[in-house]
Structures are given as C-alpha cells and as structure tokens.
C-alpha cells in the first residue's frame, strides 16, 4: 500500500493512501468524534456531520468519515471553526432526541452521550418541538423508539449488508424523517427476521431488544422453580459487559453469577445442542439412506427460520424439522426432568440466555410456546447481574449443575460459531455411518468466518456448505429452490459469523472501547469464536453421541432418535403461508 504524507495539527505523519481522514487520524492517535461512521471509520452516508474537520484548501468543512486522505493534506481537528461546528451538529441532534438518559435502556452504551461529552455539548442550546414519536413494541424481538433515533442510518446499512433484505429505510421528508420499516410499520408486520443486527449497531437507544427481565422477576416472585439454560455463544462474550477484553472466556463466572441470582438449576444449552445433533444427524442419515429430500438444511437459527418462511417457503421440505437446541432442552426439562424430580411442569419456568433477539420470537411461536418461558439476551443477563450487586471481577469459577441435563460435549459448545453445527453433526454422522470415531476429531475444512463456505467430506463422500447472514446464504438457498444444490447438508445461521455475533450480544463500539485494537470490528468475531473452539478442546467428550446424559435420556425416556416421543417433543413444522405484510401497524 502506498503511503502519503499528511499533516495533522501541523505535525507530519505518513499514512496509507486510501484511508479516510477519520481512519488516518485514529491511526495517528487522534480521536475524532463520530456517530454515523461505523466499520473502519468508513460510511456511505456522512450524514451526522459530527466528524467535521478543517482541511486546508477544501471548500468548507469536511466530513472526515468520508473524505479520503491525499498527499500533502493538512488537517486541523482542533481549529475553533471545526470544534464549534462539531459541537453545533451534536447540539442539534440532541435537540431532537428524547433525553431521558437515566431511564434509557442504552444507558452506559450510548455513543451520543459519549460524543456529547467529547464535543462539550451545552444543555438546551437548541430547543423546539420534536419529530412525532413512534414506539413499536409489538414485535417480540425488537423495540423501536423513534424519539431516540438520530438517523445515522447504520441499521439500514447493516440490514442490507448482513441480511440483504433492507427492512429499514428512511420514511417521510424533512424534519419528519424517521428510520423505520416501510410505512412506519411495526417490525411485526414486515418480513423482518428479528435477528437484531440493527440493534447491535444502533449508537443510541432507538433499537433495543424486547426485554423480558420483568417476566423472569415475576416468575421468581411467584415462587416458581426458575431453571436457566445458557447458549454456547453467551460465554464467549458476557465478560465484555464487565470491562474484560473481547475474547475473554466467561463460562465459570457466568455460572457462578447465575447461581447467585437464585436460579433453581443452571444448565447449559450445549446439552440441547448434543440432543439436536442426535436428532438432526439421524434425520440426515435417514434422508440419505432412504432417498429423502436433500440437501438437509439446519434449523437452529430462528432468524433464518423467519427468513425462510418469508422468502423461501419452497425449501421447507429441505429444512430439518428439529426444534432449536434451547427449545428441545426446554421441552425435555418440562417432561423428563420434571417427571424425574416429581415437579408439576406448570411450576417450572425455563429461562434461556441467548445471544439472540429472534429467539424471543421463536419461543412465542404457537406450535411450541410451552417449552421456554422467557428469553434473555446476553446483554439482559449482564443487566441482571449488575443490578444484583454482584462483582464480576470477584466471582469464582463454578460448574453447571449436574442433574440429568448437566453433561455436554465439545460438539455442543461450537454450535455458537458458524460451521459449528456442521462440524458437530459430522463428528456424529461419521460415527454412525462408519461405526468408528473420526480420529482427527476436528473437521478443519468447515471452520472459518467467511460468509459462504463449502467443503467436501471425502471420508463420507458428501459435499456440505455453510453460510451465515442471509445475504450470503441466499445464493445457496436459491440453488436449493431450483433443485441445483450439489450438497447433502447445509448449515445456515442468521447472523454473519453465527451466534457469537448474534443480535443479543454485547455491543462492539470501538469509540467506547479505547483499550481494544483499532481493527476490533474486523477481529471480534474470531476472538469470540476462539473462546468456543478452545472450550471444545478442553472437553473430555467431544462428540454428542458420547454424552452420557444424552445416552441416559434416550435409554430412560425417548427411546431412540426420531422416535415417536422425540418427534412430539423435539420436532416442529413450518408455515409455508407466512404473510409478509399483514394488515395493521
């Protein structure tokens, strides 16, 4: 990469050409406040006008997030003109922002507040009527509060870039512009996957998960036996909420915290993941052996299930009928576990801790609304821990409860990263089809964070494919729809990178994370994935079929995979006629 010479505040620097002024300044140790800019300081909008700097010779002030550096450029961040202009932009944004910060669910992660502090915004500099407010809490997964929105457009870009469906866009004109689904509808009345990728990038409290903490509190108050189960990906990120660097494992402390929060049992959804592999693996083998519909496509990701029902109902025959792991585990908890402990299932309240907002929708689907009673995101769990006065740093490491559903394999852990379900399934399929364990254990060629990957499993004579994010997946699904897919098994995850990057995970906000590397937005997924892969490595049992509790479950209760009882408790069906734009807002 060629280098260019620039001056910042009169000092000489050499930076790579092709960078924006914002990026270049960051590399040289200057932090320019910015709001709409996201990855790499690049953005396609340059709309918030918070990152304005003076560039010698340029006409007017330049939006540094968009303006490219060039040879001999002289930049001033601290000139009076630039400082006042940035402050004015922020003060104007604040004048049309609902400023009940103390009650704001984004409190502590608000980039606007951070930027306001950086530019020294004054209270009430500009006042006046605000844009009419829309508060959408109809959708189970996501809440939208337009009065908080600063119209940076990050969510619009993310929805397009990750899912390719562009649910969000600008509506209306002038002062009445809002970012919303078409016609200012609710997320519930448009073909939104509720994946929450938009929530992850929202710099303010305009987009939030639909919190269910109150439901959990109520269950405790009613004296229910509240059983918690945590998804694999949660442990890869929860520590970030307590100031740890990205990539710090949080399993032991998380379990310790859950114990202190008073849960009746603390289980790992990895058990459900192992169970899923048994059912889904046998389903695949059944399809292969009996000439069933292939390729089989995974069904763990509720975001993907939504997308599939909205846009590709034709592939329903290809999609595994398995419920997702936490729904399976919920069903088993309320039957097998309840029976073993002689508890009335009505007195059991199952809480899933998920990296996901779509799971909140999934648990309310009418065909399985009894299995799980509340879904909290990783972020919500952190809020519960914080408000209970628990000091994360001083927590000991504890183990999940060993009580019928306690054991889990390494295969279950890696469910949280793209390619993990595939690898876990292959470990078991190999055993079932060949009668022996795969000696290398790890299927390296299905790992990686690229959006679409394919691999040939020579040992089994099949080709498989993996995709995460619907924009990436759509090509694979289109092939399936057209009957041209060369694969036997396809893993699809709703969010790019899989659950480690789910819509309920801690925010990765470079501006608020001064101790992380400059390129953290490029590396955080890998760092979180590494947490899961190393936990897999530490497990004694690495294959789902070797999980002793799973074996006991089949022996004592279910019989065998795909048995009648399994079908009833662990499998589901899909809606081929889901309406994209139902009436009503």
């Amino acid at each position: 990469m060629a280098l260019v010479n620039i001056k910042i505040e009169g000092r000489d620097y050499q930076v790579e050409s092709g960078l924006t002024v914002l990026e270049a300044c960051r590399k040289c140790g200057y932090q320019i406040p910015s709001l709409c800019a996201f990855n790499h300081g690049k953005c396609s909008r340059a709309s918030c006008r918070v990152c304005l700097v003076e560039v010698k010779g340029a006409r007017g002030l330049c939006a540094s997030c968009e303006y490219p550096v060039n040879e001999g450029m002289e930049i001033s961040i601290s000139s009076a003109k630039a400082v006042e202009a940035r402050r004015a932009s922020v003060e104007l944004i604040l004048s049309n922002h609902e400023k009940n910060c103390l009650q704001c669910p984004k409190n502590g992660h608000c980039e606007l507040l951070h930027v306001a502090e950086m530019v020294g915004a004054r209270d009430g500099k500009y006042v006046g009527p605000m844009t009419p407010k829309t508060y959408d809490e109809v959708a189970p997964g996501i809440i939208r509060n337009s009065a908080k929105c600063i119209l940076c457009g990050r969510c619009i870009e993310r929805c397009k870039e990750a899912q390719g469906i562009a649910i969000l866009g600008f509506e209306n004109r002038g002062f009445n512009v809002v970012v919303s689904p078409v016609q200012n509808r609710s997320f519930a009345n448009v073909p939104c996957m509720q994946c929450g990728q938009c929530v992850n990038v929202c710099p303010v409290g305009a987009l939030m998960e639909h919190s269910e903490i109150d439901k959990v509190d109520e269950a405790f108050r009613q004296g229910k036996k509240v059983i918690v189960q945590t998804a694999p990906a949660v442990r890869a990120a929860i520590a970030e909420e307590f100031g740890e660097k990205i990539g710090t494992p949080g399993t032991g402390k998380m379990v310790a915290a859950l114990h202190r929060l008073g849960f009746f049992r603390v289980f790992d959804v990895n058990f459900g993941a192992d169970l899923t592999i048994m059912e889904e693996g046998y389903e695949l083998i059944h399809r292969i052996k009996n000439g069933g519909v292939l390729p089989q496509i995974t069904s763990c990701s509720p975001g993907w299930m939504n997308y599939m029902e909205y846009f590709y109902p034709e592939v329903i025959p290809n999609v595994s009928t398995c419920k997702s792991p936490h729904m399976m585990q919920g069903a088993i908890t309320k039957t097998y576990f309840a029976k073993a402990h002689d508890i009335d299932p009505k007195d059991i309240f199952v809480v899933s801790i998920m990296p996901c907002t779509a799971k909140k929708y999934e648990r309310q689907r009418p065909e399985m609304d009894k299995d799980v009673d509340a879904v909290l995101t990783t972020r919500e769990l952190a809020k519960m821990i914080k408000r209970s006065g628990i000091n994360w740093q001083k927590l000991p490491e504890e183990e999940f409860d060993q009580d019928l559903l306690g054991e889990y394999s390494g295969a279950g852990v890696i469910f949280g990263v793209t390619g993990g379900v595939m690898e876990a399934a292959l470990r078991t399929a190999y055993f079932v089809l060949t009668g022996k364990e795969y000696d290398k254990i790890v299927f390296e060629n299905v790992r990686g964070l690229e959006g679409v990957r394919e691999a040939e499993i020579k040992e089994l004579g099949i080709k498989v494919a993996i995709a995460s994010g619907m924009k990436n997946a759509s090509k694979l699904i289109q092939e399936v729809k057209e009957g041209k897919s060369p694969y036997a098994f396809i893993e699809i995850m709703g969010c790019p990178g899989g659950c480690i990057n789910g819509g309920g995970q801690p925010y990765v906000q470079p501006n608020l994370l001064p101790n992380e590397d400059d390129d953290i937005l490029d590396t955080y997924r890998q760092k979180r994935a590494n947490v899961l892969y190393s936990e897999d490595e530490r497990q004694v049992i690495r294959q789902s079929h070797n999980n002793k509790d799973i074996q006991k479950l089949y022996k004592d209760f279910l019989g065998e995979p795909l048995s009648e009882l399994s079908e009833e408790l662990l499998h589901t069906h899909y809606n081929p006629n889901r309406e994209k734009y139902p009436e009503g807002k």
């Binding site: 340059a46 932009s89 119209l151 866009g169 600008f170 209306n172 002038g174």
Partner: protein, 630 residues
C-alpha cells in the same frame, strides 16, 4: 412513418425545405393568414386550448381551412398578459384573449384586416396601446433566441418547424469535430451551468475520464424553486433544442444514453419531450449511426416525484436509480462515479438548450453577449410585485434596475421597491443600493445573493422581510431530505426561532442565535441544499437589520404583515359609516361608536381588536380607504 434523416445532406435538404415552408406560413400569400395561440402551461391553464378550438371551429364554418391556419406555439413569455393570440402576416399580438374573443378577432382582423383595439396591450408606463411584439418595452431589452426560441412562433409539436429554425445543425457540426474540439468550443464560449452552481459546462464535461465503460448524460429538469418555470417553458416551447443539446453533450463525453429527469408536475413538458423523442427515433435522428456517423444515442425520460432535493445532482442520480432522493457525499464526483457508478454529467435544461446555439452559431457569437464573468444570456422567471410578470431572456450584464423597471415595468400601484429575491430558496435578497449590479454569477454573489436557476421575485414595501425569510425556511424545512442533521434539524430550529419572532414573542437574543445557527447550517451541511438553506435568513438579516430589530425589540412589524404585531384600524376622520365593513366581517367584530360619520345620521365604525381575526376583508372592501393596518 416519418421521412428519415440519416445523412448531413438529408438534414440540409430538409432544413431548406422546412425553412421555406415556415417563411411562407409567416409571410402569407395574399388572402392567407396564420393564427398562433400560446400553448404554454400558464396560458393553457387560462384555457388557451379552447381559444384554439374556437378558431378551428370558426375557420371550418367559414370553409377557410385552405387560407387560414391555426396552431399552438410555445411560451411567449409575458405570462401576466396571456393567453396570447398572434396573427400573421401583420404580427398583431392580442393579449388576455378568451374563447369569446375569437369570433371578433376572426371577423375583424382575419376577414377585414382591422385591429381589435380592446385586446391590445397597454404599456403600464406609457399608457399607450402596443400592437406588435417587437414594440413592447418588455421585449425590447431582452435577447431572446439563445435559450428560448426567439419569437416563440414555432409549433413545439412539429419537428419540421424546429428544423426550420436550425435544429440539429449544431449537432451536425459537432459530429464532424473531435470530442475534444466540441468540449473546447463550449469552454471557449464561456457557458456556465444555468442550474445555479455556475460551473463551467465545458470543464464539467472534460472531467469525464476517457475510458470504455458506459457513460451517461443527464438533463436536470427537476425545477423546484418557488415561482420558477424557465425549464418547463424551454422544454414546452422547443423540446428539440434540449434533446439536441443533450446529444451534443453525449457525443462530447462519450455517452450513448441520456436521461431526462423531469418533475411529474410538468405533464405537458413530459408529453412534448416524449413525443419529440419518439418522432426523432422514427426519423433516425436518435438511435444508431446518427447522421451517418458512428455516434449512437438514445434518450430516456424519468419522472421526479417533486422533491426539491432531487435537483441536487447526486440526489437526482439516486432517484433515477430508483433509490430515495438523498445526496451522496463528494468525492467521488458524478463525472467519475455517477449513475450506476459510471461517469455521468448532469446539466440543467437551460444549459443544454444553449449548447446547440453555440455549436450552430459558433462560440464567438455566444460569447459576444454577456460580461467578463458570465457569457451569453440568462432566462429569468420575473415575478412578485412587478407590473410585467413572465419569462425573460436577458443578456448577462443587464442590471437589476433594467430588469425590474424597463422590462418589468416597475412596481404596481406606485409602491416603493424594497427588495428583489434571486436564486430561489438558496438565494438572497438585494436592495435599492444593489439595483445597478450587472447580472452575472460573480456580481450577484458579491452583492450577497446568487443567480441560482433564474427565479427573480420582486418585493415592495408591503413585504415583511422576516416573513419572507420564514416563508423560505418553511419551504426548505419541508424539502430537506432529512439525511444530514444540520439541515434536517437546524432548518427546523431556524424556523422555530423565526416563527417565534413573527408571532411577536421574539427577544433580541434570538437574532444572535438565529445568525449563529444559520452559519452552522451553512458550514456543516452535506449538500448544496443545506449549505445554502439559510441564505434567505442571512441576506435579509444583513440587508434589513432594522426590520428584524423592530420585531424583537419593539414587537412591531413595520410592514404590518406579522399578524400578532399589527391591527386593523378604522380612521374616524375617513369613515363614512356605510356599514360595509361590518357586514363583511366574518366574526362580527366591527361595531359603531357614538361619533357621527360623514354621512348624516351614520356613525363611525370601530374594530374590537380582541375579537378581530385579522382577515383583512374589511380593509379590502372599504371604498373610502378608511381602514388601515398599523
């Protein structure tokens, strides 16, 4: 199937033939006459279509189809006097004609060569009746014929009449030059973009890289300034000129496709453009191998939905692509990465209409008119408090005084001139002291306004400048695309302050805040719309500081426009006690005093200010001038 024009020779042949026909039509053989009726949107809305039909009916009844022709023509430009009817060969111009007048015109003028005196124009200054267009003071100082059709006498729906006045001669010449030579010709002519920015057109073309990728030529017909209708009239009067201009530009930049972006509120312009494109395709003047060369070009029309911001070129490009009309940050500039990410040039309608003239007549002739700063002519939509309202094409360098008083005929009702607003919502107000400013891009900016696309609104002493600023701010607030925060929120906050001032609740501090905020919006906004959005505020604050101060310090509106700061008052000495005002009052707030009025037995009236809704119907009804605003 129209006759094909596929070679320069065929074009020349056709030109000679058509020119001869047109001359014959205007000169008329003995006993023959030609009638033309103004067919611009303005005149059509005053029902000029029915005038045309009435003439057709009368001619048919009199079985004179072979002797008298009648057809529509483009805009004559003197809109306040329309609809027009012009008779050839005498060239008598009748104004404010209605369908009922057709019979009289036919009986007297057509049959007996008698002038219908009552339909002639009376000059507001000389009070004289004027018969021929060329004798109108309104037209004398104009320089029509560059962007507008010189006398607007051609039928915009007849390609042959366009060819008769030289259409495609410029294209023919351009096609025999290299691309660079064409760009040089336009550069030398000094043509600057007429859409408002004033960027040299030739330079804009020269930025397009010489690569093999597709390139696009775009014509910006999204005219949105309040009161402006230059582009509409140009397209409606002579669509071929704009198409030819686009083809020449397309040739110069290496584009094979051109897009007309015209607002959907201009149905007539769109229809005439569509018709012309279809006809030219049939004739082989659009399509492959134009005039026997390797140059191929096709035109497409895209309708704008009426968003002001789509006049901004990057927002316009987004809109053509089917996206929301929001500006893109620059760089990259459209010449490098524009429509569908390919090099594109966006030129305004009037700019393109000038291009055929330059190529046909040569750059020297174009540049012989104008100032050092800006060459050629400029079309203005002259409106507001001025006697002669309409569309004028003046040589650049004409002063504002000439525009307002000589062409515009001065201020009606003997009122005092206060300001002229140029440049639309992005422009500013100029006052008495600026009246001798010669009109060109540089001088107007220096004086504190801008040329803009050519709106010119004259204001008199009855206009409140704070209210004017508020009007433009309201417009901008509605029309902001909402993308960048200074424009979206800032203009609203400006409007909030202006509303507060106009409501009589202003404080001196508001003026400082307003000025500061207006400057931030200028410096912080993303596109030209935002960067110029507060010009009306800043220029009125600069030119009329005392008027703003009167509003916030004394809570008075000197022009008596802001309703919360004025009241209607009946002057007892003038009141006749006729009761008309009391009867007209919709809220019955006018009562009697016990003071005797001039008419014996009647009493002087009085307005109950607490009930008055300030509708003004009392004042406009009073025959004795007894009611005033104060």
């Amino acid at each position: 199937m129209a006759e094909q024009i596929k070679t320069p020779e065929q074009l020349q042949e056709r030109f000679e033939h058509c020119a001869h026909c047109l001359e014959k039509k205007f000169k008329c053989e003995p006993g023959h006459k030609a009638i033309v009726v103004c067919g611009d949107t303005g005149c059509l809305s005053l029902n000029s279509q029915s005038i045309l039909e009435e003439f057709q009916k009368i001619i048919k009844e009199n079985k004179m189809e072979d002797k008298v022709t009648v057809n529509m023509v483009g805009c004559l430009g003197f809109c306040s006097q329309g609809p027009f009817v012009k008779i050839f060969p005498s060239e008598t111009l009748y104004t404010k004609v209605t369908a009922k007048d057709a019979q009289e015109i036919f009986d007297k003028d057509i049959l007996k060569d008698e002038v219908v005196e009552r339909l002639l124009f009376v000059d507001p200054q000389t009070k004289q009746k004027v018969r021929k267009q060329e004798d109108y003071n309104y037209y004398k100082l104009q320089h029509r014929g560059v962007a507008l059709v010189s006398k607007a006498d051609i039928n915009p729906e007849d390609i042959d009449e366009a060819i008769a006045i030289g259409a495609f001669q410029g294209l023919n010449r351009a096609l025999h030059m290299s691309r660079k030579e064409v760009i040089d010709e336009v550069l030398k002519s000094g043509l600057r973009g007429r859409g408002g920015g004033g960027f040299p057109t030739g330079r804009k073309w020269s930025f397009v890289p010489d690569t093999d990728e597709p390139k696009y030529m775009i014509c910006n017909g999204d005219e949105g300034d309040p009161g402006a209708f230059m582009d509409r009239s140009i397209i409606e009067a002579n669509p071929c000129a704009v198409i030819e201009g686009m083809m020449i530009a397309g040739y110069a930049i290496g584009a094979q496709n051109g897009y007309f972006y015209v607002r959907a509120e201009y149905p007539l312009a769109v229809a005439r453009l569509q018709r012309a494109i279809k006809k030219l395709e049939e004739m082989g003047l659009l399509g492959d191998h134009i005039l026997g060369t390797d140059f191929s070009f096709r035109c497409h029309i895209r309708l704008g939905a009426g968003a002001f911001v789509c006049g901004e070129e990057t927002a316009l490009i987004n809109s053509i692509e089917g996206k929301r009309g929001m500006p893109r940050p620059r760089p990259p500039f459209p010449a490098v990465k524009g429509l569908w990410d390919h090099p594109s040039v966006v030129n305004n309608v009037e700019t393109l209409a000038c291009v055929p003239y330059i190529l046909r007549e040569g750059w020297e002739k174009f540049a012989s008119v104008g100032t050092e700063d800006t060459k050629g002519t400029k079309v203005f939509a002259l409106g507001g408090k001025v006697n002669n309202v309409g569309l004028v094409e003046v040589p650049l360098g004409t002063t504002l005084r000439q525009l307002i008083y000589d062409i515009g005929g001065g201020i009606p009702g003997g009122k005092k001139f206060k300001a002229i607003q140029t440049g639309g919502p992005s422009g500013g107000c100029l006052t008495e002291k600026d009246l001798d400013t010669p009109i060109d891009f540089g001088s107007l900016i220096k004086a504190g306004s801008m040329m803009g696309s050519g709106g010119a609104i004259v204001m008199d002493e009855d206009n409140c400048m704070v209210d004017v600023a508020k009007f433009y701010m309201t417009f901008i607030c509605d029309e902001s695309c909402g993308k960048c925060s200074p424009c979206r929120i800032g203009t609203k906050r400006c409007l909030d302050i202006l509303t507060k001032i106009c409501d009589g609740k202003g404080e001196p501090k508001d003026l400082e805040d307003l000025k500061e905020l207006a400057k931030f919006i200028q410096s912080n906004s993303l596109c030209a719309l935002g960067q110029t959005a507060t010009n009306p505020i800043l220029s009125t604050m600069k030119a009329f500081p005392e008027e703003y101060e009167a509003h916030v310090k004394d809570h008075k509106c000197p022009a008596h426009v802001c309703k919360n700061m004025m009241e209607y008052y009946i002057v007892p000495e003038k009141c006749m006690g006729c009761t008309l005002c009391a009867r007209n009052c919709p809220v019955a707030c006018i009562g009697l005093t016990d003071k005797p009025a001039k008419i014996p037995g009647k009493f002087v009236h009085q307005i109950d200010v607490s009930k008055c809704v300030k509708c003004g119907s009392c004042m406009s009804g009073c025959k004795f001038g007894a009611i005033i605003k104060r």
